[in-house]
């Protein structure tokens, strides 16, 4: 579904991601792991077209590396970004409403907002409250719900557990698990490698802008030393 080929990301003259390749099959959950500054967010941004990059990004058999960000979203790529970036001056409802921007079927989209409220009763309670007043965990749920409002083909999740208490982190991972069983294709960027490896069908380990390892959980865990130094996973 998503094929990234020879991708490099630049900030000015500085190259932070070096000619990486990876593939995400339809319906699978792929994890992109690595330490701070490895280039995970940069990789996601290049899929979305918000940074300078070279190489190709192929989505549903179409080269999207030259098209505008808005058009990529319209093709069915959705993002729950690092740091959540809820519209804190808007109400919870309005945040979800904007999430359905690319939908033509307004009525169905409105129904879906109701659905999300059933899954997260707390969001329903806070529906008219400004999103900035939600707790971090609630904001994360809102971010994911907002990203799903567009009915995406693929969901990009950038560090959904960042800064959350263990209990809430668990809830977030349970939610991702649910999404997975619904057949949504997911690219999961995480610091919490232990949990991410459990969820993902396949993982790529990024370090200093290079993919240093990839494979399924057991294959990754075999490379014990590398893993513990990069992601803190012990086997």
């Amino acid at each position: 579904m998503l094929i990234v080929n020879d991708l490099s990301v630049f900030y000015g003259k500085i190259k932070v991601v070096h000619n990486i390749n990876f593939t995400i099959e339809e319906g699978s959950c792929v994890a992109l792991l690595g330490p701070n500054g490895a280039g995970k967010t940069s990789t996601i941004s290049s899929i979305l077209g918000t940074v300078n990059s070279t190489g190709t990004v192929n989505f549903c058999n179409q080269d999207i590396s030259k098209i505008q960000t808005e058009d990529r979203i319209k093709l069915g790529i959705s993002i729950a970004p690092e740091g959540r970036r809820v519209f804190s001056n808007l109400s919870v409802f309005e945040n979800l409403y904007l999430g359905s921007a690319i939908r033509k079927d307004r009525a169905i989209a409105d129904n879906e907002i109701e659905n999300w409220f059933n899954i997260f009763p707390i969001l329903k309670e806070r529906k008219d409250q400004s999103a900035g007043t939600l707790s971090g965990g609630e904001q994360q749920m809102l971010t994911i719900a907002r990203a799903l409002m567009g009915n995406p083909k693929i969901l990009l999740l950038d560090e959904p557990s960042l800064g959350l208490a263990p209990m809430i982190t668990k809830q977030v991972f349970e939610l991702i698990e649910t999404l997975k069983t619904k057949g949504i294709t997911i690219l999961l960027v995480e610091q919490n490698a232990t949990e991410a490896l459990k969820l993902a069908d396949y993982s790529y380990i990024l370090n200093s802008g290079n993919i240093v390892a990839h494979g399924n959980r057991s294959e990754i865990l075999k490379k014990g030393d590398l893993m513990s130094s990069l992601t803190g996973v012990e086997n």
């Binding site: 808005e70 993002i79 970036r85 519209f87 904007l98 999430g99 904001q139 567009g150």
Partner: protein, 299 residues
């Protein structure tokens, strides 16, 4: 005495209304793309010139002239965005500011060359202005129209920003534009709408300025925009509520100074007004209602 206070308050209100109207036009563009659009004055002037042309080619119906003028300002605002501001959209704020100044100067000179450096009479809006006497209070109908029109424009804007999809997207964009694009909402659409609204407000302002002055010249909009800019700064740049508040505050200060200052100091009104504003800015450097800066992440 009471009459006098009421009289002056009404004056302040109508002065403030004009500043608020123009300040809102500046603020709506600034809140979304961080651009201080000094060419806003020329968008107002275009409305004035449109009235001049329409009167010259014998349009008599005032409704047609009003609609024509507003339309001209909207088109001008959207056109400027397309040809001048879009290319520098992602450049730094200084580039945008210089571009706006450049556009403003070019347009003023074009008006000067193509039309005339001198004021040209446009009397087609005089019909809005007749004296009203309520007891000992004397006001002009124009003051009432201007205040009411401004309040209606604010009401329309609030409804638009709260109820329509694009309006909500614009509020979101004032906080985190990139995230709005990441929802699949076109940046061009949001920005063009912001400019169209600023043009609409400029067109309304043009009608009242012409109704009061009865003439159009190349700097028709420039001075009011400078005042509106000050209103924005006092109110908190980028905040729409702040722009309205700043506009009315500036109106009140100006009238207040005229009342308080002895006749012989009348010429120094602006100096005293700006002194008060300087004090306000010392107290609140970001303006009275500075918009939220944080992006809502709680990490």
């Amino acid at each position: 005495m009471i009459d006098y206070v009421v009289q002056q308050s009404l004056n302040a209100l109508s002065f403030g209304a004009e500043y608020a109207l123009i300040a809102l036009g500046l603020a709506i563009v600034f809140s979304i793309m961080g651009l201080v659009n000094f060419a806003h004055g020329e968008v107002i002037a275009i409305g004035g010139y449109c009235m001049m042309v329409m009167a010259a080619i014998a349009f008599r119906n005032p409704i047609v002239i009003i609609i024509g003028a507003i339309f001209a300002s909207v088109i001008m605002a959207v056109f400027l965005e397309r040809i001048a501001f879009r290319p520098v959209r992602y450049a730094d704020a200084t580039t945008g500011l210089l571009t706006a100044f450049g556009v403003s100067l070019i347009l003023q000179n074009l008006f000067l060359l193509l039309v005339s450096p001198r004021p040209i009479a446009v009397t087609s809006m005089y019909f809005l202005d007749w004296p009203i006497k309520l007891g000992s209070i004397r006001i002009s109908s124009l003051q009432i129209f201007e205040t009411v029109a401004t309040l209606l424009a604010i009401l329309f804007l609030v409804l638009f920003l709260k109820r329509s999809f694009l309006g909500i997207a614009m509020r979101a964009a004032s906080l985190d534009f990139e995230m709005v694009r990441l929802m699949g909402i076109r940046a061009n659409r949001v920005i063009a709408t912001a400019f169209a609204i600023s043009g609409l407000l400029a067109g309304i302002a043009a009608i009242f300025i012409i109704a009061r002055r009865g003439a159009v010249d190349p700097t028709l909009g420039f001075n009011p925009v400078l005042k509106a800019f000050v209103a924005c700064v006092v109110g908190g740049f980028g905040s729409l509520t702040g722009a309205v508040l700043g506009g009315f505050l500036l109106g009140a200060l100006e009238v207040g100074m005229l009342v308080i200052l002895p006749q012989s100091y009348g010429g120094m009104k602006d100096a005293f007004v700006f002194a008060v504003i300087a004090i306000i800015l010392v107290w609140r450097p970001e303006g009275i209602l500075s918009p939220q800066k944080e992006k809502g992440d709680k990490i």
